[in-house]
Amino acid sequence: MNHRHLFDRYPGTRKNHERWVKTVCQECSVRCGLVAYLNNGGIVDIHGDDDHPVSQGRLCARGIAFVQGIDSPDRITCTAFRKNLQAPFEALEDWEKALDMVAEQLRKIKDQHGADSIFIGCDPEADLEFAICATRFANLLGTPHVYHPFDFPQTLSGFPLPPYPASPCYEWEHSKCLFLIEADIATTHPVAFGWALEAQQQGAKIIVADTRFTRTMSKADMALRIMPDSGNIIGLALMKTVLEESNYNGNIIKSRFTDPEKWRASFNKLSWEDMKNTIGLTPQKIKELSDLLQRNGPIIIVTGKKLAGLASYGIWSTLVTAMGWMGTKGSGWYPLDATTPPLNPSRGIDDRKAEKISHDNGSPTYALLNELKEACKKGHVPARAILCSGNCFDDFFSFFKDLSEEPELIAYFGSFPNSTQKLSHMVFPSALWAEKSGLCFSNDRAIQWAEKIVEPGTGCRSGLEFWLGLAKRFGWQDAFPWIKEDGSADHQSFYQWVLDGSPIIKGCTLEQIIGSNQVSDSCFWSFRDESKEDGKIEPTPAPEAIEPDAQIGDRECFPLYFQKTPFVSRSDQAGNFWPWTQKLEEEDAVQINPETARALNIENGEAILISSPAWTMEGHAWISRMVPIWMVSSPRGSGGDWVLVQKKDQTSDEALTILREFLL
């Protein structure tokens, strides 16, 4: 363990330990290798695994501090129940009893209101196995309402993939240019950003486009401050620029694109004026960007997770294909958090009815969620039972928080108290990632086996165990056969089944993957669908008109844009229970530009009130130029809204008058 590292570091521990476990950190989608030292069943020290091909010994603050969550006194450790949301929780004697109760309730609700009245939400906090099993269970139950942010379509067509995948981050040093769009990876994926800095030191340019002046932007050679949610429009503008200048690879377009002429023509109609207004960059600046990109190949394009939910996302795939920015080391399109290959969770049972949270505004799922939102507003509650993992109620199920009529059952599966747990009837304590073995997929498309470090906390179970228990009570053991002889969940056979069901990772055995973890050479899943010979892609055309994705609310009364964003590297809700993060980031801090603060007479640290048409929030001002004058930002709240900010002793009318005058 004591060999020299890339940075002349000497890893190891001075703490007494009986053994160590090499595994994969699951705090973010970089999936770094880590070494955990154990004594008396508990973790005594942690550092990065030097032998890991992706992280090569690096590990960020989250990867070190997650240990604090395992032993947190705030952890939920027993199943609990209450008759209504006003009553206090009563602890239940065991999981089996709690599962009996949920199964009975679900059966009753299905009989009375139909399966469609049952909703399942899978937060990324409760990992992939929960979502896969939930999808399968929902399919058997007959409800289409299962929502999750993972990407496991049954085919590749659900995702705009280019013919070649991007270089993994440890190959970025071969790149001459990294273009990051609305991707603050210095904050969210620090180890991957370490590789970007490595490339920069070797002469690569870092270009960053974002609305806030982020940590990532602070290291950029070219910083582009853009309007919120306009990242994909930059892609369209770049495409139009190279088409106008004929600087694209004509052969690739002819051989790879379906109907290239029609596609090319769509860009003629695209208006520079509209793009300028939407992005906030002049055509000259786009030209400058385009020139810089074309002078500096190979190019890596990194796009933020949020762009995936916005219109014209496919332009990045189209752009790298048309420009030939792929297929070599240090090039390609690197979509953040699009980590999961196509899987097939409903294999062997009826057609899949479940939906995933959409990558495309026009898709039925997005429309379905919007319909639900509207129905909830009007009081037409379609949900009689809601099963949630993680904190869906602060995320895509937020509209369920305002239900006028209480559903009969809200069950929460999670590790820590949160808004969803506070609104639930039943609570199931979940094991943390370090407490179970499983397969994990990374941003680099690496498939790795993560060995559990410690035994699950008292009373805690994995997502697989939760669904196996429910399936058994519905008589669906045959569809959920991953049980060992001793009755416990068999994670290995489950994940082998998952691998077997994927159209593109067939033939890859768990044995190989577990073995490859030990020889420092990850297995990767490929973008290529072997069944398709011609490899043609449907290029993303320019839209008829550019419409800003940022919601335009009542700007007259709510003149500032609000962005929800983490200020420091942390793991969402779970990070609240790590003592160090509590102190590092004041959760109620709200970033406000010094000029805006001056206009409103707000001092640094002063109590302020933020209100949108839908919510109000108290906070403390953090005066910083990281945000432009028309924007405020906080790790809490609901992103993408327009808000009014006022001092505690100011009336909203006073604040509004000041802001209107100031922003003119």
Binding site: F7, D8, R9, H47, L59, I64, P190, L197, R215, R625
Partner: protein, 177 residues
């Protein structure tokens, strides 16, 4: 056989490269975990400077700050019990058995390094991870840094690294044919 002259310094120093620091706080967290510190004292601390306006542009920097292990440490001079010590290899650290929590060192230090541990009532500061260094391991903060902004090197190693960097810069600037 290469034999080192006895006057050549073989001690390691914490070398900070702020240009590589991204303010991820890995060093702070690793330090706390290593020394089992509660929220409060931060023996190594990353300070965000900016964004500041430079014409139309903004700049923002991160500066990791830790004990400088001074040649003539004011904290050692000020300590009435001899708890604060400087080792032969230069590391300055408090012996917590001798510390009475008077905080004279905290007052004396021009950089505000020594801090009170709220749990024990004694002083805590960067001790250069003496216990790790003595068995040949890197200090916890250095090991944790994901971007290589922190290194623990001898002057010879540091000079070697600087020369390698410079050579790479020349090569990538295209000046070498």
């Amino acid at each position: 056989m290469n034999q080192m002259h006895p006057s050549i310094k073989t001690e390691h120093y914490l070398w900070v490269e702020p240009s590589r620091c991204i303010g991820c706080f890995s060093c702070e967290v690793a330090c706390k975990m290593e020394h089992e510190l509660p929220a409060g004292p931060r023996p190594i601390r990353v300070i965000q400077v900016g964004p500041l306006e430079h014409g139309d542009e903004l700049t923002m920097k991160y500066q990791p700050t830790a004990c400088l292990h001074c040649n003539s440490p004011a904290c050692v001079e000020a300590c009435p019990t001899g708890a604060m010590q400087k080792r032969e290899d230069g590391l300055v650290f408090p012996d917590t058995d001798l510390c009475i929590g008077c905080q004279h060192c905290a007052i004396a230090c021009p950089f505000g390094i020594p801090q009170l541990h709220p749990g024990t009532g004694k002083i805590t500061k960067c001790d250069g991870c003496v216990d790790r260094v003595d068995i040949g391991l890197s200090p916890a903060c250095v090991l944790a840094c994901p971007t290589g902004a922190l290194s623990f090197l001898t002057p010879i190693m540091k000079a070697q690294r600087a020369r390698e960097r410079f050579a790479k810069e020349i090569r990538h600037s295209g000046a070498v044919r």
